[in-house]
Assembly symmetry: C2
Homo-oligomer: 504 residues x 2
């Protein structure tokens, strides 16, 4: 075996966190930038991870009564204009289709031709186009609620992009629901942020806090935006999912009206909620280390990879036969209610290179099996979350595999929860607040305090301070946040605390 | 129960086939047109069907060694220009993004702003953008083959659209593979058209013929296009899937080169293959009848719907409890290796309306269960493929449910195969050819002869005749087509027959 390098990713997290992030994506073969500005190519390993996320979320959506449907990619410009805050929020960063064909350019090459009467926007989000359809579907209270989700690509013309976290095109799901009453719509908004929190914590092993966005941070056009916020390893916050109570704003813009039980014509109440491929970025920054990606077993495309070891063709046949029987035996075990996902890597490359290939890609468990292991009926087990590999009997490993995968999943969650609790404080004065958000180490300005819980009364009055420190109000946490106090920024009384943090 | 109408769809197939098609889509709640020209909304029932198609196809792609990935929605205009035939084929119907934001228009409203240096095309197909990425991935013969599939939306600015069959935006999958040799690429092209034929026949219950397209009908830029062709109930052909051997055309345009085992720099050989939401249209036109949609059980979102029947609240509780136990018992049965998909419709609407709701949506089996059935431990079974409902014991029905679903699936295939064979002829002279393609009934010009097998030598020389009769060459069938003969159009010898037909 080749001597292991000190670590597989250069630079390390401590040396340069943003660059480490890019290098993990590269080393784990998750994605790469494309020839189209701001758009990425999601490579097979990254896409399989996204498919696993989709499957788990889709099951949760269906269990809460939602169905999938599909709406147009394009939104007529006039639709966007109908909701004033909404267009304000998206007009500055949208791809605009103005022509419907190409023709030879007299100067050479091609040029756009066939100008459209009305420009079309490539959807940055679909409230307006879906709302226009719902307006036709909803006549009576009997047609409500409408509970629909869409898996789709969307485009927001971001100027500064970073793979998975912020790309011009990204994949996501967007739920769009219509209700007869405000109460039901608020309930739906809460239900779906709870689904996202459940997914983040129980599938991604990523602790999150549910809270309300302050008015300045709300989705354009929403009455209330709930979000889940997670702490990354550089102690920055990442908004991992949002659920919006839209009140009657979009039903008024799109004329979604129904006849109530009492016979009145009323505007409906709507919600929308979404998560995106950004979650892949969140997963990377929550668990990965200086050797590459670390995958929580529940979402890992392969939970176990078997590496057959042999020196010659004579050994090869029996070893391959043995590992295939081992693979089948493992695939008959279940973890998280589905068969264990196990693969054999029989590529003809050096053993050390092969091992590091799977370390960097974050596979939870590696099994090395050679002729000696066969004789002893043992396997050599490398866990991605532990530095050293261990031998154990084949039977013992197979019998305990679900338990080990569960341990790894729980261990990742616990480690992330500890990081968050170690870097979360309550702050009651400006000096401490300033100190908390000042980088500890001039060489690595990314590393600062973490999450600060502070009572606050008014976001407008602290805008300048937050801008100066590059800090934002992440959310007003929903739970365990009922003690009022004093806002030290303004001296005013405040009912609740908010989380302040630097953020992605 | 309400008296059943003579039939649920107006007009009938015999009266007006194209309008019948639109009305089936409406009655089955599959899709509707959207406010965006040429784009449709796929409604939950239609989308569930598409999801089932996706799942089956995706499993087949993975079983043949392919992985999924995702590439950008946008293609720089210059990429399209690199392959001359390809751009010729797509330039006339593509959505062109020219700006990246909106700004207030002094005349009111908004206008496009932020002009792009280079226009971007919304992908009509992804050979060029994926090829550009592959060029970076491929260095050596060791990197080959690349076997990747993408599930995506694409846009072709069609002037005449029809739901599912031809829409500006549609959903599809596109496989894109790279190989070291021509032989391997040809094998892949054949393998994937076989996968499509397998899916069409064994999942959609739709008989298809595999063949080669003539040069004029090939995919723009392909060396050879294989297709599967099916006969719809109006005897027109529908191209249901294509697989293209691209030779080195795209690898030359995108510079996909590799170092061979012998150390030479060579251009790679590529293929692409795709099926789309058009398959939903094919399914409708293959099996549906004058009462609406007819779903093959293997793809039906619900294979069985249980309709509880009760007269008052006293009956309601016990009936619902009984049908829930029946639902569970049925869901424990397997058909086609997965649990039977069974749903209860307990909506508070009239029994007749409810029954017709599911007839029109094509659910294979309806079960009516009321207090009397409970007493007798029986169920009242309505099969979508049979006119009359029948009582039988609950145990008998449960034990035989997989067999019945299999019978329905096979029956649909057999009926479609018979229609095709009844309307397929060999033709050896122009008079018969003309007669075959002349509508039999002036009131319904859609109904004509069907598929004509003719030897032919040269498509250019018969272009005018085909145009006059609105007939196209569908394909040169691959199998059972080795007897040479005389082309009656030209009098020249011809090695093979082609299928001539009117087509969608």
């Amino acid at each position: 075996m080749a001597k292991a390098p000190k670590n597989a990713i250069q630079p390390t997290r401590a040396e340069d966190y943003p660059e480490w992030y890019q290098q993990v994506i590269r080393a784990a073969d998750l994605a790469e930038s494309s020839p189209v500005r701001g758009c990425m190519v999601i490579k097979p390993w990254g896409y399989r991870l996204w498919e696993n996320m989709q499957r788990a979320l889709d099951d949760m959506f269906k269990a809460t009564g939602h169905q999938n449907a599909y709406f147009p990619l394009f939104i007529p410009m006039s639709f966007l204009e109908k909701e004033a805050e909404h267009v304000e929020g998206f007009a500055k960063e949208c791809a605009v289709v103005t022509h419907h064909r190409l023709e030879p350019d007299p100067k050479g090459g091609l040029r756009p031709a066939g100008k459209l009467d009305e420009p079309l926007i490539v959807r940055p989000t679909s409230e307006t186009i879906i709302g226009a359809t719902y307006a036709k579907w909803v006549q009576s209270y009997r047609d409500l609620p409408i509970l629909i989700n869409q898996w789709a690509n969307v485009v927001r013309w971001e100027m500064r992009t970073r793979m998975f976290l912020r790309t011009a095109e990204f994949l996501w799901q967007e739920g769009h629901t219509v209700h007869a009453t405000s109460e039901e719509a608020v309930e739906e908004t809460e239900r779906m942020i709870d689904v996202y929190a459940d997914f983040a914590e129980n599938w991604m092993a990523m602790p999150v806090t549910i809270g309300s966005k302050t008015p300045a941070e709300r989705f354009p056009g929403a009455v209330e935006t709930l979000s889940i916020e997670a702490m990354m390893q550089d102690r920055k916050a990442l908004q991992a999912g949002t659920s919006h109570f839209l009140g009657q704003n979009f039903s008024k813009a799109q004329e979604i009206m129904f006849q109530s039980e009492a016979g009145e014509r009323e505007f409906a109440w709507t919600t929308s909620w979404g998560v995106s491929t950004r979650l892949v970025g969140a997963l990377i920054m929550t668990h990965s280390d200086d050797d590459g990606f670390v995958l929580p077993p529940k979402l890992a495309p392969a939970q176990i990879v078997i590496l057959p070891i042999y020196k010659n063709d004579e050994q090869r046949g029996p070893v391959l036969e043995y590992v295939e029987s081992l693979r089948k035996e493992l695939a008959d075990q279940k973890y998280n209610d589905v068969p264990v996902r196990v693969e054999i890597d029989d590529r003809d490359i050096r053993g050390g290179e092969k091992k590091w290939h799977h370390v960097k890609r974050g596979v939870p468990i590696r099994l090395e099996v050679g002729p000696k292991d066969m004789e002893k009926n043992s396997v050599f087990v490398g866990r991605r979350d532990q530095p050293k590999s261990n031998g154990m009997t084949r039977d013992e490993f197979v019998a305990g595999v679900a338990t080990v995968l569960g341990d790894i999943q729980q261990g990742l969650f616990d480690r992330a929860a500890k990081l968050r609790s170690d870097n979360t404080v309550s702050i009651t004065n400006e000096a401490d607040f300033r100190a908390f958000f000042t980088p500890k180490n001039a060489d690595n300005p990314e590393i600062h305090g973490g999450f600060a819980y502070c009572h606050f009364a008014d976001e407008d009055s602290i805008e300048d301070l937050l801008k100066e420190l590059k800090v934002t109000i992440r959310c007003v946490p929903r739970d365990d946040n009922d003690k009022s106090g004093t806002c030290f920024f303004t001296g005013k009384p405040a009912a609740k605390k908010a989380i302040f943090a630097k953020a992605y």
